[in-house]
């Protein structure tokens, strides 16, 4: 885990700093200073602990609420359940899993997210390889154009694409939503992968070419395996982006193809009356990204850093 490693570095560094300080202190005992630094470190720990708790409380609230009956939710604060764990029940989740609409929309989310992720990864890898290792006229201008698309807000394309989808009967279909996600995922994906692919040592490619590999073989056997870290990073990022999206699906899907976010959003309009569906539904929608996040944290952070240009 990267963060762990960062932590180790930081620790090593502060140890160095400490020894440096000790050296400068040698000669004059500065007990007071040492005490003060101990004390302030205690204060820092306490402050960080409070912040951490503060940061966890909202999610904890949702989680605990999702384990309470609707009557309890509207009757008392979720924190009271912490004192009476016996109140907690899985009944909301049972109801959720028997809710046709919810299950359909969960399935839709999968149907949208998987192809949109795979599509972006495949198309962007191909294009990034071309941008990095195949020469053709106008290549760099084309690449700059792709970079220029990096920050285009989704809003500018919603209406025209909606019109186009109506014309081609893609409106309301999962394909339409997927295509739109692929389109808006591509600039960042190409940008990220091209930069990575360009770093592959030239000799490797030359050697492969020498041995008679076609571009396609080189791409499959050399570039993709070597580019895996970047591809993984991209895939996770794209997965989360599509899974968490609401706006695109809100515009392009209809009631039979809408993903979980849109379905929940519809339920929210009547917040309170169906909090028993909303709370577990929202938790369900966030638990999968969280699993992805914790499993692939390193790639996630990488993608995030590289993506700090994208809005």
């Amino acid at each position: 885990m990267t963060l762990t490693r960062a932590g180790a570095k930081v620790r090593a560094r502060s140890a160095r700093a400490r020894s440096a300080r000790a050296r400068s202190d040698s000669g004059r005992p500065r007990l007071a200073a040492r005490l003060a630094s101990r004390l302030s470190s205690g204060v820092v720990q306490l402050v960080l602990l409070l912040i951490g708790v503060l940061w966890l409380i909202p999610t904890l609230g949702l989680f605990v609420s999702s384990l309470r009956t609707p009557v309890d939710i509207s009757g008392s604060g979720w924190w009271t359940a912490l004192a009476h764990p016996s109140q907690l029940t899985l009944s909301d989740y049972v109801n959720l899993f028997h809710d046709q609409g919810m299950m359909q929309s969960l399935w839709n989310t999968v149907l949208i997210t998987v192809p949109a992720t795979v599509g972006v990864v495949v198309l962007a890898s191909l294009a990034a390889y071309a941008f990095a290792w195949i020469d053709f006229r106008g290549r760099d201008w084309l690449f700059v154009a792709v970079i220029g698309l990096l920050v285009v807000p989704v809003q500018v394309a919603l209406i025209p694409v909606a019109k186009m989808y109506k014309y081609t009967h893609l409106f309301g279909s999962i394909t339409g939503v997927v295509l739109f996600h692929i389109g808006f995922g591509l600039p960042f994906a190409i940008f990220l992968l091209r930069n990575f692919f360009a770093g592959i040592p030239r000799e490797l490619l030359e050697a492969a070419r020498m041995e008679g590999g076609t571009e396609w073989v080189i791409f499959r056997k050399v570039v993709v395996p070597l580019g895996m870290p970047a591809i993984a990073s991209l895939a996770i990022f794209q997965f989360l982006w599509v899974w968490n999206d609401m706006l695109v699906a809100l515009v392009f899907s209809d009631t039979s193809t809408q993903p979980l976010t849109v379905e929940l959003q519809g339920q929210m309009r009547q917040f309170g009356s169906n909090i028993d569906i909303l709370a577990p539904g929202a938790f369900l929608s966030l638990v999968i990204p969280l699993i992805v996040f914790f499993s692939f944290q390193r790639y996630f952070v990488q993608g995030l850093m590289a993506g700090s240009m994208k809005g």
Binding site: T2, L3, R5, A6, G7, K9, R11, R13, S41, V44, V47, I51, W55, P58, S76, G77, L123, L126, A132, D135, R137, D140, F143, I147, G148, V152, P153, V156, I159, V161, A162, G183, I190, R194, N195, F197, G199, I200, R202, E203, E206, M210, T214, E215, F219, A230, S233, N244, M268, R269, F271, A282, S285, P289, L290, Q302, L304, M305, A306, G311
Partner: protein, 516 residues
């Protein structure tokens, strides 16, 4: 178009021109420093620098699928172009374009062409049937709801990125000083992974108006009640048949009492079940010379029974109620009822008659906290939710930047006697400036396009007050109005707003490129 690339070694690709993205290393790394957190070396940037240029000469033509071994433009100075090799290098058109075509087609269909179409639509009326010039753009600045959205976007833009950045900075700096910084960072960073929708539901719960449900108001009310304790008996009142006068100050008894007499104050309008646990069976007070004694009780028996105004078995006192003795309008004595409802007003002059008063604070409504999602607070409340999500992003990038600052500088300053704060102000911050800029710009782009969070958290009644451009764009073009002209204009306007941020980013990429 099938020109062998080798024959055209550079048209369209001025060598080393400072075009963004040319430099493989620069762009992908947001900061020059992330190794500590991200191991960017694996993601790309780092290895590129050295790998590219030096290897140019080694390229060779291969028998099959010849490829122009021209070095990658932009990473090589033209002088280094190796002896332009062996003519016949040439990749079939279908191969070259097979790689690119799918992506380019989709990009053109989903982004490229729609931008142009949007611009065209933005110059036309609601259904696109006639040309209206810049009318839609004028509307952005004149239409009241769009103007509100614009104003809110400005508020967002000024506050959210700065605050997120400040929080991220503080978190990153503090986290450097504890051993469990990893755990801390994960906790702060976690909200990044979840959807705005889930975050919206989470904060809708947090901001519930009822302090018994919403944690924000629970805290506010808790703090408030420490300083101004709530009354235990909201809505209770003396039995109305007794003729107590009621005004803003509270209730005043119609009868007057002298020292030594015994008063009865039966209350109604309150549920027996809500009585404090300490409440005990009410008893009739004993007369005490020089004092007015009496009983305040809840004149109801649980389950029914008893007669009004009488202290029957089952009726309980109302501990904590304040009873004042009034002479004219001045309070001359003050007592609090005990568990059985009895009170004793002492220090009275014999022979004088007093009225009893129950001050309004006995019956005041409990403090209900703030209306977070009401018109006044809704935007700040949503910004807080945004900070909850994005402070982690700022923190991770800044922490990576911090780890790249040469430690020696800070240690040297320390040896020279600089305080922690001075080091932070004079060394850390200036060295971090590039990273802070990246974070600010990224968040600014992000904030301009904010949609989900506002749309989800703001309840229907205050959505107009919390409006932002992206939400407005959605509402005018899809949420009912179907005004595609105005919708497109807002979309294009958003794009224009984002462009300067892109410019800053491109400049940064160029600079990093030059430095590397």
């Amino acid at each position: 178009m099938d020109t062998p690339a080798a024959a055209a070694p550079g048209p369209g690709e001025p060598p080393d021109s400072p075009v963004p993205g040319r430099q493989p290393g620069s762009a992908a790394s947001a900061t020059p420093t992330e190794p500590a957190v991200t191991e960017p070396a694996r993601t790309g940037p780092a290895p590129t620098g050295p790998a590219g240029p030096g290897k140019a000469g080694s390229s060779r033509p291969k028998p099959d699928q010849p490829r122009p071994s021209r070095p990658k433009p932009g990473r090589l100075r033209p002088a280094k172009l190796r002896p332009s090799s062996q003519g016949a290098l040439h990749i079939p058109l279908r191969v070259r374009f097979g790689f690119l075509t799918p992506a380019v087609v989709i990009l053109l269909a989903i982004i490229g062409w729609p931008i142009l179409f949007s611009i065209w639509l933005s110059l036309r009326n609601a259904d696109g049937s006639s040309f209206v010039g810049l009318h839609n753009y004028v509307s952005i600045f004149t239409d009241p709801s769009t103007l509100t959205a614009l104003r809110n976007n400005v508020i967002w833009l000024v506050t959210a990125p700065t605050l997120a950045c400040a929080l991220g900075l503080v978190f990153a700096v503090l986290a450097e000083r504890v051993k469990w910084s990893t755990a801390f960072k994960i906790v702060i960073f976690m909200p990044m992974a979840i959807s705005f929708l889930a975050a919206g539901v989470i904060f809708e719960l947090v901001y519930q108006a009822d302090p018994n449900i919403g944690v924000a108001n629970a805290v506010v009310v808790g703090v408030h009640d420490v300083f101004a304790p709530a009354s235990h008996y909201p809505n209770a009142q003396p039995r109305s048949t007794l003729g107590y006068r009621s005004d803003k100050a509270g209730y005043t008894s119609p009868d007057s009492y002298t020292a030594g007499s015994v008063a009865t104050v039966p209350l109604t309008g309150y549920s027996v079940l809500d009585l404090p646990k300490s409440a005990a069976q009410a008893v009739t007070a004993k007369p005490v010379p020089g004092e007015i004694t009496g009983t305040v009780w809840l004149d109801l028996v649980y389950g029914g029974g008893g007669s009004p105004g009488r202290i029957d078995p089952g009726k309980k006192g109302t501990p904590g109620i304040t009873v004042d003795a009034l002479s004219g309008t001045t309070v001359v004595a003050h007592a609090t009822a005990g568990a059985d409802g009895t009170f004793a007003l002492s220090g009275l002059r014999p022979g004088t008659s007093y009225h009893l008063a129950l001050p309004a604070s006995d019956f005041s409504q409990p403090y209900a906290g703030l209306s977070w999602l009401g018109p006044d607070l809704v935007t700040p409340a949503i910004i807080v939710a945004y900070l909850w999500i994005w402070a982690g992003f700022a923190m991770v990038l800044i922490a990576a930047g911090l780890s790249g600052i040469p430690r020696e500088l800070q240690e040297a300053a320390k040896v020279d006697g600089a305080s922690d704060f001075q080091i932070f102000r004079k060394i850390t911050i200036p060295l971090l400036a590039p990273v802070l800029l990246v974070v600010l710009v990224t968040l600014a782009i992000n904030v301009l396009k904010i949609f989900d969070l506002v749309y989800i958290i703001a309840p229907g009644s205050t959505l107009p007050t919390a409006n932002v451009l992206a939400v407005q764009m959605w509402s005018v073009s899809f949420g009912g109005a179907q005004n595609q002209g105005l919708g497109s204009a807002i979309g294009v306007f958003l794009y224009l707003l984002v462009l300067p941020a892109m410019y800053v980013n491109i400049r940064r990429i160029r600079r990093e490129r030059r430095e590397s």
